[in-house]
Subunit: 257 residues, 3 copies
């Protein structure tokens, strides 16, 4: 049974995610539908792209990942399907799929022009239901990517702000904050290699890197390498977002001790 | 595999929706369970009815839709099962099923009196678990509707407030607000036909109808026909609820230009 | 098809629950994954244990219940698998599984030491993905519990605060508050038996026990025996949490009339 995942900013209070699943279940009755999340902040394409990139490697080969964070819905931005070595990506051509597409070899990028596959009439506001759900359903029920439209050379690409070396130091920033209030930065584990014994500065706090959240006392800030291989600032049994007053974009400085 | 959908006001922080799914999985092991939403505002039967109506057409034929927004739980209000040409509706007889029941021909309305199907002991507070989940499971595993109880002639019916013509103008109101803050009104697309070139007034804003959210600048209000075929007021890349300070019930006036 | 349930404090805004499901779907492609909830308050092991205990009896025999509320992630606390007569529990050895384990006979408690089953590299922050998801997937695909590690004699156990008899009265407290604002207490239905005609005092309110929420006027407080067999204080069509200003731990006094 093919797995179809959903990553959107639809939230869960409205029926939008559920309706999209109905469309997929009609087109691909045997599919297993799994939510990655519907909690992407409204219209935050970069957050959606990052989440999809992090989730991709943990799903079965052949999974169809459909993502909809789509401020341009109803305009001429292209619906895309990307065939990867490991699965498929479906979504708008606004960069949302571009980080995940770096995680596996790209076989083919298709601009989905086969309007006969879409729901009709097609609304101007809900392409998750009318365009992307049907495309995911078609793939999950065995339609070949090439049958969805026209192969194209590239897509819109996003780049996460990169952490930069500044002499012996690293200048990074907070790129994602989870619901525990943990601050995820763009400083990769590999950048820290050879820097055992670093001092991390963020919002006035000064920290070393600890092996786990539990290495400090309850209520204290702690820096760890997290499950995405990124440097993360947390507060044990608390929220670093609240305790440090940090938001996405907050700078972080990593210095050798 | 039969699809069973859930529409409730249970929220997702408590285990109520999950427990209901366990009950359904016990009765109908092969069923595919899909959440339409558990985010109906607590005890807002009208919002639940509207959401179920909008979702119904997008699910496979034969789907069992169970809905629980049930301020009268534990009283004598009847548990109903409605057999439609396209599927089944299960829920309390308080109007919750009545809008969806207009979307497909009604074959049979049954007052579910077969208490042997319910969980025992039956609580006074959680009929999603003890009554409606078991009924949905019975239908999804092939039990005939007629075996659930006694056929009855009608059910409680709700009506959405209707938009009214006032000379050449239309007087409507906001009937639903989604999590993006978009204001969904009761003015149907068909009412606008022949009125190309209208002016819409809501909370002091004056708008034409645009083909998509992206037809205006970021931060500007915009009126579109939405995916439910209803006139909707949005703010591009923002929240119309916050920007215009509107809630459900807010009047809207549509005038020919 | 084996059912796998998830109970965590991961929330639904981040991709954590979705990623865990991907891991399970890879290991056990035919499994049916059902969320009990991801809304346990962050790091509230007792709330997680209570929710899992309440949900357990409603799932099919053989269900694999994986729970992750894990402030000690990355430390030496043990990953456990408990084989019950009715199914399996998987999670950290911090008491989270201990209340559910009282609901069915325990056959075997295993400290999961078979690291070859875990994802590699194993992060210090996300054992739902790297340890517990893989263990649940292994069980759901037929691996024997004994193959997961070393049988042990016991686990960490939590106890809910007990309601106490004080002469003819019962002194209890609020142990859980649901999203409707209903106050669930630790006073069990059986304690009330023989006390028909009781007076309940909480935050200045004085109530009898009613058969349903609808026994009182809209906006009035009401005491009922809830679906967990526990005394619950609600406000009809409203929130008892807000109306009475009560939180978890609030004392309640039950006196014979």
């Amino acid at each position: 049974m093919t797995v179809v995942t959903l990553t959107t900013d639809f939230g869960l209070t409205d029926p939008f995610a559920g309706i999209m699943k109905g469309v997929i279940a009609r087109r691909a009755p045997g599919a297993t539908i799994i939510d990655i999340t519907h909690g992407i902040p409204p219209q935050d394409v970069l957050a959606g792209a990052l989440v999809l990139e992090q989730a991709l490697p943990y799903f079965p080969a052949g999974t169809v990942h459909v993502a909809v964070v789509d401020p341009g819905v109803g305009t001429e931005r292209r619906p895309l399907c990307i065939e990867l070595e490991d699965g498929f990506l479906v979504g708008p051509d606004n960069g949302l799929l571009s980080l995940a597409a770096t995680r596996s070899a790209i076989r083919r990028i298709v601009h989905c022009t086969e309007e006969g596959l879409f729901l009709s009439p097609r609304s101007a506001t809900f392409h998750g239901r009318d365009v992307f759900g049907p495309l995911a359903g078609a793939l999950a029920s065995g339609t070949a990517v090439a049958a969805l439209g026209t192969e194209v050379g590239d897509m819109e690409r996003l780049e996460l702000p990169a952490a930069l070396r500044d002499g012996a130091a690293i200048r990074g920033q907070v790129i994602y904050i989870d619901h525990f209030g943990n601050l995820v930065t763009n400083v990769r584990e590999q950048m820290l290699a050879g820097l055992r014994g670093v001092r991390i500065g963020i919002r006035g706090a000064r920290l070393g890197v600890s092996p786990s959240y539990a290495a400090v006392a309850s209520g204290a800030p702690v820096a760890v390498v997290n499950s995405w291989g990124l440097l993360e600032i947390a507060v044990r049994d608390g929220s670093a977002r609240e305790r440090l007053g940090a938001e996405v974009g907050e700078p972080i400085l990593v210095e050798p001790r």
